[in-house]
Each structure stands twice: as C-alpha cells, then as structure tokens.
Amino acid sequence: MNTKFRWVAALAVGAVAAGSMTACSASGGSGDDQTITYWASNQAPTVERDAEVLQESIDRYTEETGVEVELEVIPWSDLYNRILTAVSSGEGPDVLNIGNTWAVSLQSSGAFVPFEGDALEKVGGQDRFVQSSFATGGAEGQAPTSVPLYGLAYSLYYNTAMFEEAGITEPPATWEEFVEDAKALTKDTDGDGEIDQWGVTMAGSSISNNAHQAFVRGLQNGSELYDEDGNPTFTEDGIVTGVKQWVDLIGEDGVVSPSDAESVNGSDMAATFAEGRAAMFFDQAPGDNLRQRDFTDYAAAPVPMETADASGLEGTQSHVAGINISVFENSGNKDAALDFVAHLTSDDEQQYLAESFSALPVVTAAYDDPAFQTEAIQLKQVTLEDHAQPMPLFPSEGQMETLVGTAIKDLLAQAAQGNEVTEDDVRSALDSAASQMNSAG
C-alpha cells in the first residue's frame, strides 16, 4: 500500500542516516599515542590556505617523530566558543592557538598546561623568545600557560605619493605632527565641494582596534587601564585624553571620513587606503591586502608618540599583538603535544610560518633570515622589542576589550553623526564601561 511504503521508506532513510552518522564522526581530543589534535586559528586570507601552510610544517613534524597531527583550522567567529566548550567539558584538542590577549583569561580557568620546568625546557627556555611576546603568555608572577607563536605590532602606514604632493618629507613622529599632517592631507581633490581625500582612515566599528587604541594612547599620555591589583582605571586622565585624541580624529579634527565609523576590520581600511581615499592608517599587517589590490605607493613608519623621544611606558607604540599556543591540560598525550609546540616554535619553523602568514617570528634567532631583514620588518621588530607592551594581563581583559571598545565605537558614532564629543562625554562613557566591569564575574 502506498502509505505504508512511504513510511517504510522514510524510516529506512532515517536508519541509514543514523547509521552513517555514527560512522561519520570525527575524533575528539585523542589519547592515542600516535595522533594529536591541533586547533589552528585563521591567519591566512582563507581557511584553506591556512591548512595548506600548516600541513607542510606538520608533515615535517610527523616525519621526524612519527606522530600524526589532526589539524582543524577554526574561523575566528567560532574559535572562542569552541575553546569554551572544550574547557567546560574537558573534551578538546591537544594543542591550540589562542589570541594572545585571551591568554590570561584562559589561564585562570586552569585548563591549560603551565610552561615551567620541563615543559618550558622542551620549548627551549624563555630567553630565546622575544621577551615582550613571551610576557603575553600569562599573568605576571605566574607560570604562563601559553607561549607565543606569531608576533605582530602596529605601524603607521602612509601614502608616499600623497606625502610628496603635500610637501611632507618625513612621516610624523609626534601626535601633534600627525594631526597636522592629516589636516594638510584632507582635501577636496576634484573640486566638487566634497572632501574625497582624508588624512586618516580607521575601523571605527572594530571593537578590538578601539580597545588597542585606548590602551596605547592611554599609555602614551601617562595612564594605564588597570591598577596593580587588577581594578579597572578607565577614567584616569591619560586614558580620557588618549581616547579623546582618537575620537577627535573624526570629530573636531575632521581628518577621518565619518563613514569609517562603520568600518569593521582591516580590509576596509586597506581598501580605502588603496583607493587613494585616505593618506594614513594604523594596522598590523596590511601587506597582503594591499598587494592584492596592486597598491605599492606606501611605506611604514613607527606609530607617533606624544614626544619624539618618549621611552618606557610612554614610548609605547603598539600593544604586543600576536597569536599564542597552548596545550590542553586534559590532553591524553602531553609529551607529543609539547613536542609539537616546540616544533612550531623552532627557529626554522618560525621562519617558515612567519613568512607564510606575514607575521613576525617570536624567537629572536629567526630574525637572522634575510627574509626578515627588510626595512618594514626591522621596523616591526624594533617596535615589538622596544616599544610594545602586552595588553593588561588580567583575566577580565576580554571583557575590558568589549566594554571599552564598544564605548569608543559609540563615541565615534556620535562624532561621525556630527555631534560634539566633549571630554566629559568620553569620561562618562569610560566610567560606564568601568562600572559594568566591577559587577560582572
């Protein structure tokens, strides 16, 4: 009978599906001696490319040790949630990448292997790493639960052709010069009454970029985001001044297109820059993006500071950006996992990986390779070593980034819509962010 047949068929489909489902499962964190699982983050323009690059390095590792590595490249939109489920359930990979600003927060969960004693020895000890990068691995005074894998730092990128045209011979070294140059470069080039060339472009809706700026500008103006005990100090004068400087670029100074308040990531900035719509911007590694757009009329310079010779905390030009790598405490094969970490942070692999991903090596020896001797990279190396500080090393750092970054995003939106943003506005926005910090977790 028709109906019966249809139902039998449906049930059959269900059964087959159920059967194939159980067969088609991926293995979770393994206790298998011969295989370890590695969760990598998305560094290349596509997830596929990440897998390609990493597979080469993994193949070399497997050849050497006989241990297989199951690789999964996880897009940024999912990585944090995946780590959450791994930590809460105890089921996860053996090795994983993390954004280095997550390090302290993840450390406090106790789910990751601390790099001390034997573990630290396996990766060759602390000294071979770029110290500022290494410092991001965990809270001060505690053994880090992650070691750096890739390094990055902000630089100022500027359009050399526009600079020449405007008669500016050197990139700005102080914030004052920066704003001056930006104003000189903001103009209406085709005479239609509308500004079509802006001095600066930014990604106003990028929460993390905003938080980074608050951090750096704050330090340059003499204040930190947290005090020693881990209490948020967002309303310190230096922070308020620094944030106001940043917001004024769209507001009072008028050197940033209001549309930029909506830009969400680096590629928006690169696109604007490459199309000749802006003369300067701050970014970590726009090289690939600009190359894709066939744009070459640019150069890199250190991020401007309050005074040209600032040093110490006030000489901060960038936060220590980068990716770190951790080993899951629940890993069934910690030895192999640590070996793998040692492999990825070895001098040779560092040279290969950093080059492939347009990042910086995190071990000083790797910089000897001629590939890293270019001016732009040397600039970054100097920035990373002498002018960079890790983002605040407290577990609530992630929350801080979201709250401060969003507060700044809202201020920028305010300015972009033509409303005045006063110092009081900035202070109260930061104050609101700070009070939300205290009451949560």
Binding site: W7, S25, P45, E72, D78, T85, S267
Partner: protein
C-alpha cells in the same frame, strides 16, 4: 470575497508593493554575485557594469563548499524526517487520545520556546559530552549530535500545529477504518496521514528551513569533517577581507535547495492547510 473594480486596483498596488519589498534585497544579492570583486567594494551600482560568473567558480575553492553541502544535506534531511515522524506520532496522541500528563506535556513543550535559544548551547554540549563518555556514542563533532539537536528544535511548533490539524479531521474516517479492523495505529497510517499529508509537508518544510540555516549550534557541534553550509558561509568573511561577491554567490547556491524544494511543495501547502478550500 466579491471583487469590485476598486478591489482589483487595490490588489494590484498592494501586490506590487509586497513584491517590491521582497525583490529588492534579492536583486541586490543576485547582481552582487555576478560582479567582480573590485566593483563590489565601491559605491553600489544598480546595473552591474561588468558581469562575471567567476564568483560562482571561486566559491568552491575558497571554502570546501561541496563538502559542507553534503554535510548539510545529510544532517538536515535526517533531522527533518525524524522530526516529522515524531511530531506526527505525538500530535496524533494529543489530538485523539486521552492520557494523563497530556496537558503538562503540551505546556512544557510550549515553554521551551520562551527560553532564549542561545542558552541551551552550553548545557546541551555538556550533556552530550557526558553521554559520550558514559555510553561511547560520539555526539560532538559528528552528524548524530546535530541531527538530534535539530530534530528537537522543530518539534514544539510541529507538534502544536499538527495536533490542531489532526483534530480538525472528522473522527468518522478513523472510526470507519477501525471498524474494518485496522486498530488505532492502522487508522493513523492508513487514513490520517494521507489526508493530513499537506499539513505534514508544511511542518516538514518548517523543520527543513530551521535546520538548514542554523548557525550557533552548528558552530559548536561540528568539526572540520562535519561542518555545515551555514558555517561555511561565514568563512567568506575572513579576518582580512570580505569577499562580498563570493559570499552572495555562495548565498544563492546555499539557498537553492530550500527554494527549489519549497517551490515544488508549496502547492500542497496551501491546498492542504486549507483543507476543503471553497473557491
């Protein structure tokens, strides 16, 4: 409804308005999917100045779309079939039979729609992991976990809808069948289901659409091998660049199965839901 001239004019403008509202974003998606990347990143152009089918080729390489397609198809189809089956059985019991706990069951099922969906995520994952450990059935990173999740998501509304639908079918039909000696279950399969086919299809469509586009649970319950299309779509917006044209092309491709299926089935929907339509 008697149609006056005035009504016909009103109808024309009303339908034109609705069509316009629906079509404009669809037009944007389609035209963007056939523009080269450079054209997509500047000011929006209503008429594409350059047309290319490149994006439709590139999407399969940028992201392993074919694999995601297969995963989505298996997962969604299984979830839909199972969900409909369970809903039909439960709805029949609720519509025709009396039993203790009937009301509570319905109420509890409804209450699940009041809890924010996102908060099921972590507890569900924890439960799955517990089960995994205790009886060794792989629920995370496998098809099974996601199928179980999706089939349950569409249960509340499906049960609710089918219950009302079954209730409106006159009892005489089943009585006749049972007098012939088929029993309750027989009546269900022989009489009710064929007659209620359209309602069942409506519910199946709803279940399919719900599962096909789900993102949050998929992001956490899938691994590299079982990743679904909805996750895949997000990969076109990487950290460094948003390939809008590919994203739109992939969106078109991803939407096609749902739309085609829907088109094939929609006639049954209306005729069925409106059993006995008097025209």
């Amino acid at each position: 409804m008697i149609e006056t001239r005035g009504f016909k004019v009103f109808r024309f403008f009303g339908l034109a308005f609705l069509s316009f509202v629906v079509l404009v974003p669809l037009y944007v998606v389609l035209t963007t999917s056939i523009k080269p990347l450079a054209d997509v990143q500047g000011l929006f152009q209503w008429i594409p100045s350059r047309v290319t089918l490149e994006p439709y080729v590139q999407i399969w390489q940028t992201v392993p779309l074919a694999q995601y397609f297969r995963n989505s198809l298996v997962i969604t189809t299984s979830a839909t079939v199972l969900s409909v089956a369970m809903a039909v059985l439960a709805a029949y019991a609720l519509a025709r039979l009396r039993f203790r706990g009937q009301r509570s069951f319905s109420l509890v099922v409804l209450s699940t729609q009041m809890f924010p969906g996102i908060l099921f995520l972590l507890p569900l994952f924890l439960i799955f992991v517990q089960i995994q450990r205790t009886i060794g059935v792989q629920l995370t990173g496998s098809y099974l976990g996601l199928v179980i999740t999706y089939m349950t998501f569409s249960l509340p509304f499906s049960i609710w809808m089918l219950t009302g639908y079954f209730a409106s079918i006159p009892q005489e039909l089943e009585e006749a069948s049972m007098i012939d000696g088929t029993g309750r279950l027989g009546a269900l399969f022989r009489v009710i289901i064929p007659v209620a086919k359209p309602g069942i299809i409506a519910v199946a469509v709803y279940a399919f659409i719900t599962a096909w586009g789900e993102v949050l649970f998929a992001s956490v319950l899938t691994s590299k091998d079982t990743r679904t299309l909805s996750i895949g779509l997000r990969a076109y917006a990487s950290q460094q660049d948003v390939y809008w044209n590919q994203l739109m092309a992939a969106s078109v491709v991803v939407s096609l199965p749902v739309l085609i299926g829907f088109m094939l089935v929609q006639k049954h929907l209306i005729t069925g839901l409106s059993s006995g339509a008097v025209k």
